[in-house]
């Protein structure tokens, strides 16, 4: 493997096996260029967090190699940790300390000179909008505030690479959008961001490139546009005027493609095998069946369609518990 750039990530054949379970990560190859936002998308239990834990040196891989910021994750763990910041799945904060005290602790532990610690703390707390709450105990923070503090702590020592493990899970729309803006801003400053998520729109909105993982393997990789273009099938959704006609609508749409899971109440939807050009035929078929339609919509392919095409399942509702989760807990991985 060539020496990766000092702000890039490379993995080859990365595997993590747990004692009594299937492989949580089953041979992952990936390459993240410096300054890129890489979205790692998959359902619960796909192996996202396990991958992050390996790349951040908190879990040794069973097989395979990886270099983060140019350092080998197994042999040069200390150097990797010096170059990365991570906000893991749990906010991992101490409810008895204030935001400012967290920053002081984090900057000190990373070896920032005393003179710089206060300044850096103030700067980061302001950046994430926590200046006013800085002297309140974290136990009083909302979920969004905790996530923002988590991000600030991950940035304390000016890392070149940032790992974010499901950073917006459980947040309201406003907090989520604010965090997205922050991540986009970081990427503009040249920070490489490795982001795991189970939210399609997050990967779509933020990521330069997306890797879709399922059952420990990457099943698709590329820019969101490339991946969707590969599938190329739009979805048509029809909602009848009389909700009792739903079954008839579904019947009428059936010849045009596979049923799509995402519909409004009382509607039916299919992925059009023949693409947008079939729309006229769809309208004719609905008309021939004597159906009065309230709404007819054409949706461009989504990452969920990509996932479905690659795995045969929809991303939404596809999750399970992460394999080997008990073993993970046994070695101190929450």
């Amino acid at each position: 493997m060539e020496q990766a750039d000092k702000a890039g990530i490379e993995a080859e054949g990365l595997v993590r096996e747990f004692k009594n379970g299937p492989r949580a990560v089953d041979g992952i190859d990936l390459r993240v260029a410096p300054g890129e936002i890489y979205g790692f998308l998959g359902p619960n239990g796909a192996g996202k967090s396990t991958t992050v834990l390996m790349l951040t040196t908190l879990l040794p891989p069973t097989a395979g190699t990886a270099r983060v910021a140019g350092f080998d994750i197994v042999r040069e763990g200390g150097e990797v940790r010096g170059a990365i910041g991570a906000a893991l799945q749990e906010a991992a904060l101490d409810p008895l300390l204030t935001g400012r005290e967290h920053m002081r602790l984090q900057t000190a532990l990373h070896g920032l000179p005393k003179a710089e610690r206060g300044e850096r703390s103030v700067e980061l707390l302001a950046r994430v909008g926590l200046s006013e709450a800085a002297d309140r105990k974290v136990g009083q923070y909302s979920g969004g505030m905790k996530r923002r503090l988590d991000l600030a702590l991950a940035l304390a020592h000016r890392p070149r690479i940032l790992f974010l493990d499901e950073p917006t899970t459980g947040l309201d729309i406003q907090s989520r959008t604010a965090l997205w803006d922050e991540v986009a801003g970081l990427a503009k400053e040249g920070v490489t961001v490795f982001l795991t998520t189970q939210y399609l729109e997050e990967a779509d909105a933020l990521a330069d490139r997306v890797g879709i993982i399922d059952h420990g393997k990457i099943v698709a990789e590329g820019t969101p546009a490339e991946l969707k273009a590969e599938i190329g099938r739009p979805t048509v959704e029809a909602v009848p005027h009389d909700l009792d006609d739903q079954a008839r609508v579904a019947e009428a749409l059936r010849p045009f493609g596979e049923e799509s899971g995402a519909t409004k109440r009382g509607g039916a939807a299919v992925r059009l095998e023949g693409g947008e050009s079939q729309l006229a035929d769809v309208v004719r078929a609905l008309d021939a069946a004597g159906l009065a339609i309230e709404q007819l919509q054409l949706h461009a392919p989504s990452l969920d369609d990509v996932f479905l095409a690659k795995t045969g399942r929809s991303l939404e509702g596809a999750g399970e518990g992460e394999p080997g989760s008990e073993e993970m807990e046994a070695v101190g991985v929450p």
Partner: protein, 258 residues
């Protein structure tokens, strides 16, 4: 100041802050042992009439016990704090810094030291005000505090070990009965020589807690008995060494980072 010292210092600072910000940890650790001291010294006064009882003041005899009970609270508090760090993922946050394992353990015990100091000073002051004797005088008071802190820290390492091994606060709390038993099956209420029931006497005689109690009592009742004092410190050191070794090994497994 070296990076290592800074790490220990910062973690120690956090440990102390957390302890002071949890009155629920401090108050029972102070009040409970004193309450039992009051009850037992009132209820077992007649024990001083037994032939061979070393003092005419049961309060003086019983004053050794709160120091051991305080050590018990230290096991729970230090262990629970660390277990919570593991459960919340805070330990992972610390693992991502250049932090060394020994620094983590050392820093965590700082809170135990502070609590130990507060406990020792409180028990001694209240006991003396209530009329307990201190044969070894002012010097003895200082040695009592040092001994108490040593024992608190030693037992604290056991709490850290349980936390690292189990990873849950519940498991640490579950240890309470075990240490409680250790305290009761000792010369807690009566001197070894006056324990009539054979099996109880045997168990109490091999229980290190009996000798820790005796170290305190030597200062309170006799004055300066260097042999008993040395034995008490040696036992505290041994428990601390075992606990620290076990905790360090458990930490290596818990912080599996590369």
């Amino acid at each position: 100041m070296s990076a290592h010292t800074t790490q220990v210092g910062q973690l120690a600072r956090r440990s102390v802050l957390r302890t002071l910000r949890q009155p629920g940890q401090i108050v029972p650790a102070l009040i409970f042992p004193l309450f039992l001291l009051a009850v037992n010294s009132g209820g077992l006064k007649d024990a001083t009439n037994l032939p061979g009882f070393p003092t005419s003041s049961y309060l003086t005899f019983a004053l050794a016990v709160p120091f051991m009970q305080g050590a018990l609270f230290s096991v729970m508090n230090a262990g629970t704090d660390l277990a919570r760090d593991i459960e919340t993922g805070f330990l992972n946050r610390l693992a991502l810094t250049p932090l060394r394992g020994a620094a983590l353990l050392g820093g965590l015990l700082a809170g135990a030291i502070v609590l130990g100091l507060v406990q020792a000073a409180t028990y001694l002051l209240v006991g003396l005000l209530a009329g307990a004797e201190l044969a070894a005088g002012v010097g003895g008071a200082l040695v009592i505090v040092v001994l108490s802190v040593s024992i608190t820290v030693a037992f604290g390492t056991l709490g850290l070990f349980v936390a690292l091994r189990s990873g849950t606060a519940e498991a640490v709390q579950g240890m309470f009965p075990l240490f409680f038993v250790l305290l009761f099956l000792s010369s807690m209420a009566l001197p070894l020589e006056l324990l009539q029931t054979d099996w109880f006497h045997t168990v109490a005689s091999i229980n290190p807690v009996s000798y820790l109690l005796q170290a305190f009592r030597s200062l309170l009742i006799e004055g300066w008995n260097l042999g008993e004092l040395a034995l008490g410190f040696a036992i505290a050191a041994a428990i601390g060494a075992i606990g620290m070794t076990a905790a360090t090994a458990a930490l290596k497994t818990r912080l599996v980072r590369t």
